[in-house]
Amino acid sequence: MDWLFLLIQTLNGIQYGLLLFLIASGLTLVFGIMGIINLAHGSFYMIGAYLAFSFTQMTGNLFTAILLGIPVTLVLGYGVERVFMIHLYKRDHLHQVLLTFGLILIFNELQLMIWGGDPNGVPIPDVLSGSLPISDTLSYPVYRIFLSVVCLVLAGSMALVIRHTRVGMRVRAGAANRAMAESLGVNMRSLSAIVFSVGVTLAGVAGMLAAPVETVYPGMGEQILIISFVVVVIGGIGSIKGAFVGAVAIGLVDVYGQVYLPEIASVAVYGLMAAVLLWRPSGLFGRT
């Protein structure tokens, strides 16, 4: 048993898991707070990655690219909320799913029109391109550690804000009872717009951060979206703790699967989901 190899794969699994955690937090934020299931969440991950690609090409620096990409994504998210999501608050899940499905079709085609169908890569910034030695022969890329830490910090901060600040309280009030919150003076319209923008920007930032270690290609949004769904199903909707546990579990299963059992790697994650469903249909931490 090659323990060092296992360690590296475990770190990879955790890193992937934390990336998923960031994305799933955004998803669960929007669903938990606004009751909207947004299939286009993955599209924002893709948009983030492509923005990182273009801005890095323009400015030569990934960090600048991210600083530019965040406001762009926020504005885009805000626009989508004002134009489309605003109609979905009173609609059922089927309508939400179909409308956001339409959005995916548009986003995917726009991406092809603007960037084309070839996969792209984003270079790791020099300052983070080193490796941390963990033995005589093996070392672990610094960027992946950076990525893990940032994802954890971002998602964790969001959770803290929701739980422990005044703004967070208003957000939770609005989630629990929209009409009541409004009559108490909470401006639900702007709050919804903010929550949605932040939620999808979390996915966008995940895309920007992941761009150097994952390929940037068409359809990357849906791939990650569906895995995020699996995370949320396993962890339970509306639970940040659940999203964390689910994401790390999936990250590990996926990476171990690819390395040790490549034939079943792509279905291993779903097998995990099936197992959880048998035991806890509402997810590990979901409210029944």
Binding site: L98, L99, L103, E109, M113, I226, F229, V267
Partner: protein, 325 residues
């Protein structure tokens, strides 16, 4: 049971369709066949969405799986005999629906949507990543299925007109079958589950069981549609199982009118027709190459402005459904 007027309107539609192979060329016959087969697919989804209240975003899994099974059982040098090939396709599909359904139906609401999407994607990746059936390139069915008893060939789906009429007759038979099932005790129960599942449990119904049976029936009919669809072009690819296919099926259901059975068939016809329009350069210029944008916009417009669908419109115009006791 739809009212007389609605049935008459549907009869007219069927007659209009029946004329197509007599006046159109192969391209139009194939298009019309696709419309009918996707109509069957959408109709099966309506059983789930419109009558049982189960929004599945993974229904294409059964549609595509059946096509792949047909490829796998079809010899390279001869046509498969529907007499056994069709039951095999349907059997495999039904089994898949049973397993996936048994797990998925344990969940409710949004979870169900996500879980069905995930399981369908699992099947997509299985066929996409493995060598079993051509991987991402897809695979061919060199000879379209025939129906033969002994050495006598009764039906050869290789002829496009034959496949068209076979599909049309299938649609009518399946429609009638579903109407019958919905009038039967089973149909009453699933409709009750859609309206108030908890109450149905309180009345003594094991709702899990009924939902599962509905899921399996719907999945099997989707498999039948998949069998036919694979026969149109003699080609299967992983996209048939993909989330886009499942999403488009849901759009057809909504566009045509959820909970009407015939509505989704009209939705399928309409959607394919709209797609033809969007791809037409003469009408849409350079956007036609990127018609998915137009389609996305169309889907959004349907959801925002037209959520009751065409079937709902038809019912309103033609008169209320006869309220039987």
């Amino acid at each position: 049971m739809p009212s007389r007027n609605v049935l008459s309107a549907l009869a007219v539609l069927v007659l209009a369709l029946a004329v197509v192979p007599m006046i159109g060329d192969k391209y139009w016959i194939k298009l019309a066949t696709r419309m009918i087969v996707l109509g069957i697919f959408a109709m099966s989804l309506d059983l789930l969405v419109g009558y049982t209240g189960l929004v599945s975003f993974g229904h294409a899994a059964f549609f595509g799986l059946s096509g792949y099974v047909l490829h796998l059982v079809s010899p390279e040098d001869a046509a498969a005999n529907m007499a056994w090939a069709l039951p095999v396709c349907l059997g495999v599909t039904a089994l898949a629906a049973l397993v996936i359904g048994a797990l998925s139906v344990r969940t409710k609401g949004v979870y169900f949507i996500m879980v069905t999407l995930a399981f369908a994607q699992m099947l997509f990746y299985f066929f996409h990543d493995s060598d079993l059936a051509g991987g991402s390139d897809g695979a061919y069915i060199y000879f379209k299925p025939i129906f033969a008893l002994g050495s006598v060939v009764l039906v050869d789906l290789g002829g496009s007109a034959v496949l068209f009429y076979f599909s049309l007759v299938s649609l009518i038979v399946l429609y009638a079958g579903l109407v019958m099932v919905l009038r039967a005790p089973f149909g009453k129960v699933i409709q009750g589950i859609k309206v108030n599942e908890h109450r149905m449990q309180a009345l003594g119904f094991n709702t899990y069981l009924y939902k599962l049976v509905s899921f399996v029936i719907a999945g099997t009919i989707a498999g039948y549609a998949g069998f036919l669809f694979a026969s149109i072009d003699g080609f299967v690819s992983p996209e048939l199982l993909g989330w886009q296919e499942s999403g488009i099926a849901l759009v057809m259901v909504i566009l045509g009118g959820m909970g009407t059975l015939f509505g989704p068939v009209i939705g399928a016809i309409a959607l394919l027709g709209v797609e033809e329009l969007f791809r037409d350069r003469a009408l849409f210029g350079f956007i036609a190459a990127h018609w998915q944008i137009l389609m996305g916009g169309f889907v959004i417009c349907i959801v925002l402005f037209f959520a009751n669908g065409l079937g709902g419109l038809l019912v309103k115009i033609a008169g209320r459904q006869s309220e039987e006791r």
